[in-house]
Symmetry: C2
Subunit: 125 residues, 2 copies
DNA sequence: TCTATATTTGCAACTTAGTTGCATTAACAA
DNA sequence: TTGTTAATGCAACTAAGTTGCAAATATAGA
């Protein structure tokens, strides 16, 4: 359904993404905000913010869902063909501002794709 | 530690991958083989087969771990820069025999990456 | 500003994927 | 054939995420 009311809870969640440019896991937010917000509330807000195109989500190799701010997305158009990069040293996940293009794939019609990269980030190199 | 004994249980699990060329989720195997094998056994065998390079694993958008046969992998070298394709109609996930290459990424050193594609497969088009 | 209404929140209980410790069973080398 | 060691089953557990419902709160309209 998306966000319909600008509640305090929504502001608190959004503040975390303003502070932090890296992707944040749902679990991390739940523990981080445990004194301010309830678990269910956080999951529900994240869902709605994703609906609205404010955030986008992806699964980590660990099976934990992560969210990051969308750059140029809204409710109808979501451009998420940018890769996510996880540093194997510090663990941080960032959205990369590069476009990965796929080769031609016979017998399949592609509608969307995600790229997940592992390696070392500038700080850890 | 990898597989050290060719037990019946290992054969039963491998048979499922012989029957099926698509990726299989851990949960699916657990229910499929519930009369023959215990849940823990299946998870442990999958882990070991992945260790040995017989299978490779990846996370679905649903947070469920899936496994597929490796083509040219062994314990030491694992080449998994082939994409996984999930059909949005039939839900099946296949390994594509195409190589996706990444553009040059400044400030990062890449060690591995995964590509996950959604769309329609030949059968469902 | 006040009020009615519909959305949002907190809570507790639940679901589901995956893990662990331990006693028993089964491979397999000698 | 047997002793050793890995593999298995079981039951209990963990951790991420979901759900139903009653109470709280944002907001449109009076």
């Amino acid at each position: 359904m998306g966000i319909v009311r600008k509640t305090q809870s929504v502001q608190i969640v959004l503040d975390e993404f303003r502070k932090n440019s890296t992707a944040i896991s749902a679990v991390h937010l739940v523990t981080q905000l445990s004194t301010k917000l309830n678990k269910s509330t956080i999951y529900r807000i994240l869902d709605k913010l994703e609906d609205d195109g404010v955030l986008h989500s992806f699964m980590g190799k660990d099976g934990v869902k992560r969210y990051a701010k969308c750059q140029n997305c809204n409710k109808t158009t979501h451009t998420d063909n940018h890769p996510h990069f996880q540093c194997t040293i510090c663990g941080k996940i960032n959205c990369l501002q590069v476009n990965v293009s796929l080769p031609d794939i016979p017998d399949y019609s592609v509608t969307s794709y995600q790229v997940f990269i592992q390696g070392k980030c500038k700080e850890c190199l």
